[in-house]
């Protein structure tokens, strides 16, 4: 058989090119049918009234930004800061030559990675005041949310930071020590700055996760001024009997998370190139 014959004599009497055309045509056709059906059958005015109601949306401003977005940013930042500090400490303990430190770090990482974040929020916000009546985590909602997020983030970040430190070539520590730097000094001035460059992309992803997880504040008792995006959206949806506030809150999240994710991907790509 010649090549020409093989092309035209495909099973069913159709050439490969013809079959690909039919398959693509079918898929586009289905898509168009579904879109047309949705446009024709959907009750657009009801949908718009409930999900994208301009009057409701306008009423959310400026509080959705000055309270909701602001508090989301504050809880995320505090959680990230505590997670970074705690994570660095635990990473160094993991790498320590003192066995009890290593054991503590390993236990911490396993425990806090194994627990649902909501349970940690409830423990900090409800459990601690119950166990020690009269005491409360300082800083109100900022303290509680920051601590809850930070406790969990520290466990994840410790692993990331440790991987970054281990990825710094051994010769760096040797060069630093041979210049007379002590081990802690060499860690701080030479190894850790290089480790953090390596782990900026995963840390940026951590920031995105924390931003979303800060919504768990919903389950703590907080004041009106302490509401972040999710609780703000939920409360206002209830008040006005309309879904629009939840959509607006969602858009606010995406305004933070999508640019950060894109940034993380860009940084990752740049690092791959540099290697």
């Amino acid at each position: 058989m010649t090549a020409e014959q093989m092309k035209t004599a495909a099973p069913g009497g159709l050439s490969r090119r013809r079959r690909r055309q039919l398959s693509l045509g079918g898929q586009y056709g289905l898509f168009i049918v579904v879109v047309v059906l949705v446009i024709v059958l959907a009750d657009w005015s009801t949908l718009q009234r409930n999900f994208a109601n301009w009057d409701v949306a306008k009423g959310l401003f400026p509080e959705v930004i000055t309270v909701g977005l602001r508090n989301t940013a504050v809880y995320t930042a505090v959680g990230f800061g505590l997670g970074l500090g705690g994570g660095l400490l635990i990473a160094l303990m993991r790498l320590s030559s003192v066995p009890p430190y290593r054991a503590f770090a390993t236990a911490y990482i396993e425990i806090f990675r194994g627990l649902p974040l909501l349970l940690i929020f409830i423990f900090v916000g409800v459990g601690v005041p119950l166990a020690f009546p009269g005491t409360n985590i300082p800083g109100g909602a900022v303290g509680q949310a920051g601590l809850s997020l930070g406790l969990a983030a520290a466990a994840y970040m410790a692993e990331t930071i440790r991987a970054g430190i281990v990825a710094v070539p051994k010769g760096q520590m040797e060069a630093a020590r041979s210049l007379g730097m002590s081990y802690p000094r060499a860690m701080w001035s030479i190894i850790i700055p290089q480790a953090f460059r390596i782990i900026i992309p995963p840390l940026t992803n951590q920031l995105v996760l924390l931003c979303k997880d800060s919504s768990l504040v919903l389950f703590l008792g907080i004041t009106l001024e302490e509401r972040e995006l999710t609780k703000f959206g939920r409360d206002l949806a209830g008040q006005v009997g309309n879904t629009t506030p939840i959509i607006v809150a969602g858009i606010c999240y995406l305004l933070i998370t999508i640019p950060l994710s894109l940034l993380a991907r860009r940084l990752e790509a740049r690092q791959r190139e540099a290697r």
């Binding site: 020590r177 041979s178 007379g180």
Partner: protein, 266 residues
């Protein structure tokens, strides 16, 4: 002038290395099997020997990057094997240059030469900067002050590494195959800097395969094989008229690269 011009050879034995009965094992692998030798103040000693003979380990025992298993290592008047010795203080006085440069990639050339001055010697920024510039100038890199290591050739990186060590005002310099990772045309610049240092009276212990450098610059050459010193003496004797068969075999391979390649293939 600069701190580089410190005269070695002060009466308390500063500027000298004394090694006796040095043994080092990694697990059951005995890499150094009783090494004795001395580098006098202002002396340049070249260590030669086949790969795996323990040259790097010997050098790393001098500034305690490796802990000797037994024996004594006395550098700049301090017994570095003494558990009470302040090893960071001793290391400040011993410069080390590595085969793979080990520059700090997150710092510029100037930053590389400044950081230990700032953090270890606590020099203020202006003074550390001044000394760093002087040393970069001295290794011929005055115009590369703001470059990051990734922007420099291997030869330039190694010269920054030398400047970084010199800026601490060391009394002894250790070099571990400083030109082995370099393209042949870049070797000369680095050796030139080292030759200049030797002329200024720096005490130097140099592991190298550059026989012409050893012949010209070294006061003594030490040939090591299998963790032991086989022979040592003036370069004219060890390189040009070796008395041991093992030295002769090694030298014929190093001096004739074709033979060396055949040797590796064994």
């Amino acid at each position: 002038m600069t701190s580089l011009d410190k005269r070695p050879g002060e009466p308390d034995g500063r500027g000298a290395i004394e090694i006796s009965g040095l043994r080092k094992s990694f697990g059951t692998n005995e890499v150094l099997r009783g090494i004795d030798f001395r580098v006098g103040p202002g002396e340049v000693v070249c260590v030669i020997g086949p790969s795996g003979s323990g040259k790097s380990t010997l050098l790393r025992c001098v500034n305690l990057l490796e802990e000797p298993t037994s024996g004594s290592v006395n550098v700049v008047g301090v017994d570095v094997t003494d558990p009470d010795a302040d090893i960071d203080a001793v290391r400040r006085r011993i410069g080390m240059v590595f085969q793979s440069f080990n520059l700090f990639p997150h710092l510029t050339a100037l930053g590389n030469v400044m950081i230990a001055q700032r953090k270890v010697l606590k020099r203020d920024k202006a003074e550390a900067g001044r000394i760093a510039r002087e040393n970069l100038e001295r290794v011929g890199l005055a115009d590369k002050i703001g470059s990051y290591p990734a922007q420099l050739s291997g030869g330039q990186q190694q010269r920054v590494a030398i400047a970084r060590a010199l800026a601490m005002g060391p009394e002894v310099m250790l070099f571990d195959e400083p030109t082995s990772a370099l393209d042949p045309e870049l070797v000369g610049d680095v050796l030139g800097v080292m030759r200049g240092l030797a002329e200024q009276g720096m005490t130097m212990l140099v592991v190298t395969h550059e026989m012409s450098f050893a012949r010209e610059v070294a006061d003594r050459v030490v040939f090591m094989d299998a963790g032991a010193v086989v022979e040592e003496g003036p370069p004219a004797r060890v390189i040009d008229d070796p008395s041991h068969e093992r030295t002769r075999t090694f030298l014929s391979r190093v001096l004739d690269p074709a033979a060396a390649r055949v040797g590796e293939g064994e």
